[in-house]
């Protein structure tokens, strides 16, 4: 026992260790503060938070969970990208491979999918909690607006992923969704006032979404690029803003 303690002390006194970990772990207020501010991940937090904010019954952890699930989706999503090719002749077979051949592939794909649904649920309930605690009120108005944008992006992330398995479920769901785009006033070929700008089936918003007049190879590629690159980058950037604003707006809301 003493030997182990001795070795630990020797190890934590080396230059290498000290160059990585900037502070000791003795329980002092100074170390607790350093633990937060000298850690790139933890410094999202203020050193101290109001006592009520730590209560689970205040935030229900919902914003944090939404972010965590986003990270989970990023990790599992990148792993899925190793196996999945957005090519109409391969995509479905890649899904089957993931389900039956790839080690842990089934768990990977399934948990990525359920996590996507979970994120939609947690983001909605995060919004509900923020509303019920009146946390959108001054000075946090703009962060609520950012939140609504994140809500839309969460829906779009999930929606673009829906087509990727290239199965009947995704194909017809995207059909329903993008056909609504065709009904957009002025900019969709079936919407009111379509002739105003000369909008036709081959130059309207639906066409832009699908990369064609029907769901085909270009649509799959577009869904893939938006799902794996475009929307995650935009959503990630907005999340950074969102968290930054939580701090700049005076930290988590609380009784005035």
């Amino acid at each position: 026992m003493n030997l182990i303690l001795f070795l630990i002390r020797k190890l934590t006194e080396t230059e290498v260790w000290k160059s990585v970990f900037r502070h000791g772990y003795t329980d002092t207020p100074r170390n607790r503060a350093l633990q937060t501010i000298s850690n790139v991940w933890l410094h999202l937090h203020p050193v101290k938070v109001p006592k009520h904010a730590v209560k689970i019954r205040y935030t229900w952890c919902l914003g944090g969970l939404t972010f965590f699930i986003f990270l989970y989706l990023t990790v599992t999503g990148v792993l899925l990208m190793f196996y999945y090719v957005p090519d109409v002749n391969r995509a479905y077979a890649d899904m089957i491979d993931l389900m039956y051949v790839v080690p842990l592939g089934r768990l990977l794909r399934t948990s990525h999918r359920w996590a996507g649904h979970a994120m939609v649920i947690t983001v909605c309930f995060h919004m509900l909690r923020v509303f019920l605690t009146g946390s959108y009120k001054a000075p946090r108005q703009f962060n609520w607006v950012l939140g609504v944008l994140l809500l839309v992006l969460t829906f779009l992330l999930s929606f673009t992923g829906y087509l990727l398995p290239w199965d009947q479920l995704g194909y017809w769901a995207i059909m329903v969704g993008t056909n609504m785009g065709a009904a957009t006033p002025v900019m969709g070929y079936q919407g009111p006032f379509a002739d105003l700008l000369g909008v036709k089936i081959n130059n309207d918003v639906r066409f832009a979404l699908l990369g064609g007049t029907q769901i085909d190879a270009p649509s799959l590629l577009r869904a893939y690029v938006w799902h794996c690159i475009g929307i995650p980058i935009i959503a990630g950037a907005l999340m950074i803003l969102h968290f930054w604003r939580v701090r700049k707006d005076g930290g988590i809301s609380g009784p005035l």
Partner: protein, 240 residues
Amino acid sequence: MSNHAEAQVANNKKTEKVFSWPNLVAKEFIAAILCTVILLVYSYYVDAPLRELANPGEPENPAKAPWYFLGLQEILVYFDPWIAGVIVPSIILVGLMAIPYIDVNPKGNGGYCFRDRRFAITVFLFGFIFWYALIVVGTYMRGPFWSFFWPWETWSFDFPTPPPSVSLPNWLGIPALLIYFGLGMLVPAVAFWKFAKQLGFIRYNITMMLLLLMLGMLIKMALRLMFNVKYVLQTPWFNI
């Protein structure tokens, strides 16, 4: 949910602060672990859906959007696609973003308290529940050709032809709309004068417009379900 009294108590102690490490971080860590465990266990037992290979020649019937859009798909029954699929979601989003700017009531910031914000909370909860109620109907009660089935009924393809729908003639529809929106804007302004004055002219109008649009949707749905009304307003370019 803590009530008003608790919020008051919390109020007095608001300056009390604790270190994020470990008080907050530990809870976040536990939440993350629990979340991961639940996800993995659930995924282990329930497979993600995968149907047959996509086939453009063989439509799914019913073809359903992902569940979170089924509320919108459900109102396709009552409204034309440009309203259900484009206008309604746009108004919802703009309305959501407008909330902090039209709700000027400074009370109830930072705690669960219904009493100080009866109107705001009632309207928001109503909308929230409405959205999910439609999703439940769309998910569990719509079968082939989007016809209605109770969850315990088996889907079948032979169901009675729906009764023919009628549209309100414009001489009835236009006045009805004018009266609905006109009275809807005026009556609350008179009946709740203090509330309207507190909001100010612009905020009051935006708030009431959003509220009337939401209730209007419900009314149109009721008209359809009870009287088979197809449109309440017809023009050469679009119908509502």
